[in-house]
Subunit: 442 residues, 2 copies
């Protein structure tokens, strides 16, 4: 049955959902607080590139848009680890060199989705209309017009895709029996740039996600098609070597000379970038339920903002879109049952990727530099080679399959236990063999 | 240095804080969203009695109000456990029969505090003025007047004592790097009444907190000075024997006949009460920090709503008041340092009582009925008798001392380990002694 669906927020999740629902025959009103990026060639928000991997590609293929995106993406089949001294070391993400995550432009991806969505006659989009509240009974989204007046937009279903600071979720959590938590990292981030080389090429390896792991803090860099890299510092807000203590041009220059010496020559705009760009914070949001009354649902960052360290934020939102449209198809005449099915399928997976993203921060900044870590990754890849799909490293499952996140994590834990048991048995067999040999020789 | 202090909310915590600060020479504006209970002899909110114990009494003594309150309170030196069949059993809270928690009227306590506070010329109170937002820079509270217009009230310090659904905290949590969580119980509550006996006396034991523990749910009753008891059902919202399934008069009567047979004859208004009274929900709120910019601070339920099962909500708020006024005295010229000290001293204790209150729900509804539990309580009291202050049962520390909550919990854990170790040593000694005796006899 065709529904009137109001989607609050025309970011990545909202645009893809509009496209899916429009094509499924629903009447979609997509409302965005920012200006129209199609007109202004502008997409707001601070992060300018992101990593798309198997889950995102799966969802884009369903919309027929994957190849259009990936032709402008840059493959990153592994991490390039930059030690303080010595040459960088490449660590492949997978045993299979054809597996790569893809650095893509957030604004290009958003435009691609929004254009495709609004090409559908079932989808209407409005801009410059911030959501300020929701009516969970009608249901309706409540928006503030430029003149300060409010406008109620009613629908059969309201889906909030308005991000980590969702106005709809904020209204939802004022209802009784809505569990909610927001938890900030004690680290902030700041974006910097490595410009293209004079000839237009890349100043450092193009096909890698670069990491300068420094234990407790790090810098990363993702390539852009124009030859530039977007670098991001992840430093503590406070304490030694933090955004609070490294402030002046002199502080910054001295710190980079000491801590990121191989990057510094490639960063001619470092001091301007550092001065001009804000320090952002990173939050993990969890909430339950994901819908109220079977009328208003949350999707993407609005339901489960995650920290960026597994590169799965957009990928997870796209999975939400698939799950929601599938549930609505499955229960065409019972919207509450559809939303119940949607949240049952997604909440545990969203919690799992939230946990894994937090754990990956520790891994990236503290462990990737160690030879023990490299050995562990090699051992994982070797086991995968030996055992095939019976042993899939966690990173492979998260980035290169669509195995649900929670299942991937459980499977990794089972594999880990099996490996430990196997090692103990093997060691026991060795000892027994040695003893038998010693006995035979005696 | 005298400050202008705006206190948002004239409930228990806000009124006591106003009194403390007024007497300390600060200029206090106390603003409440409800009507003036002094004029209307009315105090809003649903719970009509509560338990005051050592911490609350300590804070009230500091204000010279403890005896005025306690002369209208009813001592509860223990729990009266009502099994489904058989006679109720009294379990003392402490080895020392002089130790009791006190059932007092919430509205009487609120009026007592508010009258005492507004008797001070430094304290001005305004009513019917709900807070809708806060300005953390100025600082100011933002209120909505009856005509719909907003009013900003500026101060040097704003303290939010506006309860579990605090508008100020809601504004605060929209700032970056404010951690926040709200977590609801899957149980709701509903209040019922046991009226006074025909002659005016108490129908069941006056000096006890009555519990009907039923494993997974329970009813409790606290005495009031007029001979009535306020009963509270704590039932699951959903599932078997829940508020969702027990709905009609017939359901209720049959359920009470089966589950609370000894209470039913004392509850002539059961069906009206059940029909008329709402089902409330219970939330645990945690947030950090407790102040923003050194200008706006949270106190009581606004900072740390707890579930009611340890009877410590009001007591903990009163401890907050003492800690805040002490910190402001300690740092008269550095408000930020004062608020830092206040939150450092209180957050871990607030988290500890939140955890203990959740644990006590399980204890009350599932364990108090068992003979093993009664034996454990007797053993604790015996150890306390034997070892004095070297062994203080947790309930004694929480309810009958002012040992900080977190310290009480840690001490109880240490004692528990020591008892286990002692038991193991004693058992070892017994075995050794028996072996020695057997050897000597052989």
């Amino acid at each position: 049955m065709a529904k009137r669906v109001l989607i609050v927020g025309a970011g990545l999740g909202g645009s893809l959902l509009a496209l899916y629902l429009g094509r499924a025959g629903h009447k979609v009103m997509l409302v965005e607080r920012r200006g129209d990026p199609r007109a202004k060639n502008y997409v707001g928000g601070r992060s300018i590139n992101l990593a798309i991997s198997a889950r995102g590609i799966h969802a884009l293929e369903r919309a027929g848009l994957a190849s259009q995106l990936l032709e402008h993406g840059i493959r990153m089949p592994g991490r390039m680890i930059h030690p303080v001294q010595g040459a960088p070391v490449f660590q492949p993400y997978s045993r299979d060199p054809s597996r790569a995550i893809n650095s893509v432009s957030r604004s290009r991806l958003n435009l691609l989705l929004l254009n495709a969505a609004t090409d559908d006659p079932n989808v209407e989009a409005r801009f410059d209309l911030p959501c300020v509240d929701a009516d969970f009974a009608k249901p309706a989204g409540i928006f503030r017009r430029a003149d300060g007046s409010t406008e109620h937009i009613e629908a059969d279903l309201v889906v909030a895709t308005d991000g980590a600071y969702s106005a709809v979720r904020s209204a939802m959590q004022k209802n009784e029996r809505v569990d909610y938590s927001q938890s900030y990292l004690s680290h902030g981030y700041k974006e910097l740039t490595i410009p293209a080389a004079d000839g237009g090429g890349f100043r450092i390896e193009r096909n890698a996600l670069h990491i300068w792991p420094r234990g407790g803090s790090m810098m990363i860099a993702l390539p852009n098609p124009d030859g530039t890299f977007t670098c991001t510092l992840f430093w503590p807000f406070d304490g030694p070597d933090s955004f609070a203590t490294i402030r002046t041009d002199d502080d910054v220059r001295r710190h980079f000379e000491r801590v990121y010496p191989d990057a510094l020559p490639h960063m001619p705009t470092l001091l301007e970038d550092f001065r001009g760009n804000p320090v952002g914070s990173m939050v993990t949001v969890r909430t339950s339920p994901w819908h109220l009354n079977g009328t208003v649902a949350l999707l993407g960052d609005a339901a489960h903002a995650v920290v960026p360290f597994y590169g799965q934020g957009a990928n997870a939102s796209f999975e939400d879109c698939e799950a929601l449209v599938d549930a609505l198809t499955e229960f065409p005449n019972d919207q509450r049952a559809a939303l119940d099915a949607y949240q049952t399928r997604r909440i545990r997976n969203a919690n799992a990727i939230a946990d894994m993203a937090l754990a990956n921060f520790i891994e990236m900044r503290d462990k990737t530099a160690s030879s023990a870590f490299r050995l562990k990754k090699k051992a994982e890849h070797a086991l995968h080679g030996l055992l095939g799909n019976a042993y899939l490293p966690l990173y492979d499952m998260v980035s290169f399959t669509t195995i649900p996140y929670a299942e991937a994590r459980e499977r990794a834990q089972r594999q880990q236990r099996a490996v430990v048991t196997g090692a103990v048995v093997a060691a026991g067999a060795l000892v027994a063999g040695a003893a038998a040999a010693a006995w035979a020789l005696a």
